[in-house]
């Protein structure tokens, strides 16, 4: 009797592509075919977390007697054939199985944090335990001193994966050495960087790894209470984590007398309410305390005086999820990956104009070229790579000619960007760099908490200048003014938000000054900035099909069937609908 395991991706990409519908299709097809009763006794259907290659979702792994076949881009209507031909007939449906591109996507990846993600059933604690889950915590509680645990993490070279890159072991040690009756450990799951979703995927795909990481951390620093501060924009992550915490309680991994010791540890969820600045440690603490999330000056650092004034360690989700694997396999194993100063692996959200979008985990020090071309499969639609944006609103843009750079904390900092939380957005020739800078400033300006003047007023002024440049109303000296203002904001702001907010401006000016200059002359080279564009129809290409006329929301296009159409520039709102819809490339924008 063979055993059949069906694993359906229910990660962020899987759900958006209809993972739930695929699961119900499997349920009904299996029922109809009477599979569990007749052919394969041990047929089970599992919901699992992110596989990685989201652009080919819904991904389904079919494991028959240990042999795995991956199906890509699965739709509910494909399920019947997979069940009848493969599960019953034992013959894979070759045209739907994962292709070479799928396998290339994983070739250069090294999975540590994500090693169980997409392989275990996130709703089932036994699934995590059977892969060695909670073994690391057991090892720590049974025979390691808190000093030994901190030393192990220090030796591994693990640095905070939330963005700042502070050595985790050093943070733990400082907190451990601070004498206090009550200490706290907080998991920062307020993944605020737009364009980053690794923390969401880790919590949704392997929530117990985060819990185990916190448990080990609590032992190392001597905390009996933990909090997970999680964005309310991630309702699914909240739900799965709640469920996992309840399960961990029932098994005695949380609560009192953990692993037979006298220690207790509890985790409480605190939902964010939508404020980017709450990813900053002291603002996060204020938010947990129920106040407006405004940062406080440091020092005192939270490890000495944090939540309710008590010593507090705050670690990011990915950092904590690394901990169980480091304890299990040892610091030497972990630090064998990466570069001299950036150890281990890092998860990146590879998105934008790249063929393969999704979640990747790579050893630190891999080149950007390998990520974009070997893993990402190159640029979409045969366009040219222009830049790669890393580190979100605190980061910068790396131009195409620097694509051979190593991706680690030091190398990215040298070129004016950061690793950050791991967003990696690929930009092509159709993206305007001034528009990108404006986009990020819009974000940081509206998310500035308003406490300190340089950030509150400085980002506002930066945004105003950028806005007038993109409207063709830039003035001579604006570029220099942006640079000066940026430097002032960076040096005078209270917290990381203000100190890094000008980075997208500075890095785009540094590498794409010509685009800024073109805007000052009234041209947007990438044809993005609306106010600098005019749309018109090329007589020689227009077939008079009327597609643009129907698509135009402002009725700016006139013309009879099979005759030349025209756009009235006075009425045109420059939405680009005609440009997108024209099959004959007759609509031009300049």
């Amino acid at each position: 009797m063979s055993s059949v395991k069906i694993m359906v991706c229910m990660g962020p990409g899987g759900i958006a592509s209809g993972g739930a519908e695929v699961i119900s299709a499997f349920e009904s097809e299996l029922r109809q075919a009477n599979v569990s009763a007749d052919i394969h006794k041990g047929c089970s259907l599992h919901k699992v977390g992110c596989f990685g290659l989201c652009s080919k979702d819904v991904l389904v792994d079919l494991i028959i007697d240990g042999a795995k076949t991956t199906y890509q881009s699965v739709k509910p209507e494909m399920v019947r054939r997979i069940v009848s031909e493969h599960i019953i007939g034992n013959l894979p449906v070759a045209e739907w199985t994962a292709d070479e591109n799928y396998h290339n996507f994983y070739k250069k990846q090294v999975k540590v944090v994500l090693s169980d993600c997409g392989r275990i059933d996130y709703e089932n604690i036994d699934s995590y335990i059977s892969e060695g889950g909670y073994k690391a915590a057991e090892k720590v509680f049974a025979g390691m001193t808190p000093e030994a645990v901190t030393a192990e993490i220090k030796n591994s070279g693990l640095r905070g994966r939330g963005g700042a890159g502070f050595p985790t072991g050093v943070k733990w040690e400082a907190c451990r050495k601070t004498a206090a009756g009550q200490k706290y450990i907080i998991c920062n799951a307020d993944e605020g960087d737009p364009g980053a979703f690794m923390d969401r995927a880790v919590i949704e795909g392997n929530p117990h790894a985060v819990i185990e990481g916190m448990l080990i951390g609590s032992y190392a620093i001597g905390a009996s209470r933990g909090y997970v501060y999680i964005r309310a924009e991630y309702p699914l992550a909240v739900e799965r984590l709640k469920y996992a915490i309840k399960d961990a309680h029932e098994r005695g991994f949380l609560g009192s007398n953990i692993f037979g010791s006298k220690l207790k540890f509890d985790i409480q969820l605190k939902l964010g309410a939508g404020a980017f600045v709450c990813g900053e440690e002291t603002a996060l603490i204020a938010s947990i305390e129920g106040q407006r999330g405004m940062p406080r000056p440091k020092p005192p650092y939270p490890v000495f005086q944090g939540l309710w004034g008590k010593p507090t360690v705050i670690n990011n989700v990915e950092t904590l999820a690394n901990i169980p694997y480091i304890i299990k396999k040892g610091s030497a194993w972990y630090s064998s990956y990466g570069t001299e100063k950036s150890k281990g692996t890092k998860v990146f959200a590879l998105t934008g104009k790249v063929k393969n979008t999704g979640l990747i985990e790579v050893p630190m020090g891999i080149t950007l070229r390998e990520i974009i071309y070997d893993i990402g499969g190159g640029i979409e639609g045969g366009k040219a790579l222009k830049a790669v944006q890393t580190g979100g609103p605190s980061g910068g843009c790396i131009p195409a000619n620097m694509v051979d750079i190593n991706v680690d904390y030091e190398s990215l900092a040298r070129v004016g960007s950061i690793v950050g939380s791991g967003g990696m957005i690929v930009l092509d020739e159709d993206n305007c760099m001034v528009n990108m800078a404006q986009y990020f400033l819009q974000f940081t300006q509206s998310e500035s908490c308003g406490k300190c003047v340089p950030c509150r007023i400085g980002t506002k002024r930066l945004l105003e200048i950028l806005s007038r440049i993109t409207k063709g109303k830039g003035r001579d000296g604006d570029i220099e003014l942006l640079e000066k203002l940026s430097r002032d904001i960076k040096s005078a702001s209270l917290c990381g938000l203000g100190q890094t907010a000008p980075n997208p401006v500075l890095s785009t000016i540094k590498y794409f000054r010509n685009e800024y200059e073109a805007h000052l002359k009234g041209k947007c080279p990438a044809a993005v900035c609306k106010e600098l564009l005019t749309y018109y129809i090329l007589e020689e290409f227009c077939k008079g099909c009327g597609a643009c006329l129907r698509a135009c929301p402002s009725k700016a296009i006139t013309g009879e069937k099979k005759k030349l159409h025209k756009i009235d520039p006075a009425v045109c709102v420059k939405c680009g609908a005609c440009f997108d819809v024209c099959k004959f490339k007759a609509v031009k924008k300049e």
């Binding site: 652009s55 979702d57 737009p194 924009e233 305390e289 129920g290």
Partner: protein, 154 residues
């Protein structure tokens, strides 16, 4: 309303709540933060209403005005932005006949709002329609969905 507020009060005491969780609870029950609810809690807890107001306006998830019965949330994350979310939003606003910064249709049926990032960046651009996520959104798909919503409202 009073009954609901008492219920919220009881829950918050049980769960060691705070100002934020009270407001989240109110928002979840009423769909926005009614002034009366704030005044009620202000009296009961002896916390100035201004503190509630301060917290409410600080966080983007709290709304001071009632929202539409259908919520369309366009993601404005970086990946969505580079894949044309702005275009989608202006097309949606036009389709819903929303003028000058309005976010809800006149009949109170549909609210169009933005969110910083939904964490579904690999499927950009994404739009959330009544909590269901739609990936790889196009102008046509969005218009079709909005027409369905409008039709259902009639």
């Amino acid at each position: 309303m009073e009954k609901t507020l008492e219920k919220i009060m009881k829950e918050e005491i049980e769960n060691e709540g705070n100002l934020i969780s009270i407001l989240q609870n109110i928002e979840a029950r009423f769909g926005y933060i009614p002034e009366d609810a704030v005044n009620w809690f202000s009296k009961r807890l002896d916390v100035p209403a201004s503190r509630f107001y301060g917290v409410t306006t600080f966080y983007s998830q709290f709304h001071l005005k009632p929202r539409g019965r259908n919520i369309v949330t366009a993601c404005c994350g970086t990946a969505c932005h580079v894949k044309g979310s702005e275009k989608l939003i202006s097309a949606a606003a036009m389709e819903l006949n929303l003028k000058n910064d309005e976010d809800t249709t006149e009949n109170g049926e549909i609210t169009l709002e933005r969110v910083a990032c939904l964490g579904t960046c690999s499927m950009a651009p994404v739009v959330l329609i009544n909590k269901k996520i739609h990936g790889k959104m196009t102008l046509e798909k969005l218009k079709k969905e909005l027409k369905l919503l409008k039709k259902a409202a009639q």
